[in-house]
Symmetry: D3
């Protein structure tokens, strides 16, 4: 941890977006091998970037759905689709984002993302 | 061309976002080899997706900046950074999008995107 | 749906290549969230591209195996390996395509593709 | 060089597909740093894969255009578009391959590939 | 097989790094469809590259962890994490490699890699 | 800047690895648009990761060459090839890294990397 304030702000945002239960389990399950990484992403990703006031969290969620589809990261995509719902995205808006990925990232990337989204909605009871 | 209405709506949006001069030059420069592709993207990309009312154009622009950075497509990124300015994104908002790509797509992708953005701003007089 | 003729031609090709049972199940399982996407790919991917007469379907199948390996999309790859068999590719030709991906996309991409192909052959009884 | 016969077969195919002048210049320009790599690709890529009889060279060329577009390798793509012409692909067939990449690899990948193809045709006087 | 000596050297290294039981099962399970590929990677990957004396095997393992994370190949990554332990990498060194991937390949790639590493350690009893 | 100590350590390493003249020019050329990003990478990339004692700088350089080849980032690759020379890599070791990328990332990625390396050596007078 390099900066306790940034880390703590990041932890609060991470718990707010991804759910306290999920994040607390991830941190509690950390061991010596991945604890430095968990602290790194809490501070670097959630504190230093998500903690910036320049964009609404809902917009940051939509950007993540687009990037995680482009990068083919289904497990992270599922987590962030639930986070997008938490941050105020509607299912229709998520559909629009994924339709747009079909054109720019290719149809197979979007096929995978639509499948992941259906699983995420089911798990989230949305 | 499969549907003249969708194509024409797409052409109008494409000219509005990317600039009439740029689009008209692209279409005028088309030959038998790439004309079917030009018509395809006008209809498929700009008509059938950008033409949907479900997201503001400004949001679609931000999604594109994130995807084009993830996909490492600097020439298209430059065009869409100018389009983002046209669609109402501020330079600060573009900076926020690119900072977020650094975390999700990796620092080298963001280094390239920041360089491209500076070139785009210069060309656009922004 | 933007053009009923293109959509219907696409639907016929999609059912022919991927199998009527598979496609009908996908369409029947669609809900408000992914129905627009299902229609989109039927019309634009299967109608507007696969429906073009410029290449034999067997060639289009081989191109897809190469691209889906390069893009690391195993679920779509499996579906299209079965489609390639339907379109007249032999197992030996599929092997040749995948050997070529090893050189251009890297050995790990080809390892995944060979594994997927064995699963596809098993499911298809090939 | 591990097998002189495979290497020599590879060299003959490489010169036939990419042009003797181009290949001879590449080999003549090699130094201690990249000579092992030049020998490696001559033997393994051109001898051990392209040298297999299981697919026509024209088909291998089309597969390469699809993969090199998916992998975003414009310089190699240009070389292999010229090679595709040498191997008997028509400009119309190349257009069909690139249209198909638009759907599977995304529109920006195809935009880059169409631009590269136009440069390749110009350089090849096609 | 193009060169028996290179193939045999490759086979010895492959068995040493990935474990004799694993490799022998892969080769025994090969059929006409993937046997040429198995021979190809034994000779080309393990003989002609891993067999070069220019880098210690431990370094080659670390390079592979970085590349397989960048390329998003979790199954191969798991195999090579076990191979890295065999080649003398400590868990702390593997952690350092994966932390570095977070910055260059993006956080989601590293999240996947840390998850894979924990599975690999468990399977290897490390 | 979240932690001055980490930032300052990062700045020292960045200047040491990439060259003081290059880094100072980058920082001096920064404006309001990319200054937050420059500070971000100095602190998180160079301070929080490169500043960790767990791997020698020479090893971190080799990992970067492998990742930047896999990610197709030629401009960053060129900078880090020069940095690798500074960190004690020989040209022969760099050749070994790039040969290994040919197998795992594919031959076209390695072709690009070898070309970039030759440019980097020339610029560095190596």
């Amino acid at each position: 941890m390099n900066n306790k304030d940034v880390h703590d702000k990041g932890l609060a945002i991470r718990r707010e977006v991804l759910g306290a239960a999920y994040v607390d389990a991830a941190l509690k399950g950390a061991d010596d091998f991945n604890r430095p990484f968990q602290e790194f992403i809490t501070e670097y990703c959630w504190g230093a970037v998500w903690g910036r006031p320049g964009l609404p969290k809902k917009t940051r969620s939509m950007l993540n759905l687009a990037m995680l589809t482009a990068l083919a990261k289904p497990q992270e995509l599922k987590i962030h689709i639930k986070g997008a719902l938490t941050n105020g995205c509607t299912k229709d808006e998520i559909m629009e984002v994924l339709l747009q990925t079909a054109v720019y990232c290719g149809v197979p990337a979007a096929v995978d993302a639509f499948r992941t989204a259906r699983e995420a909605f089911k798990e989230a009871g949305a």
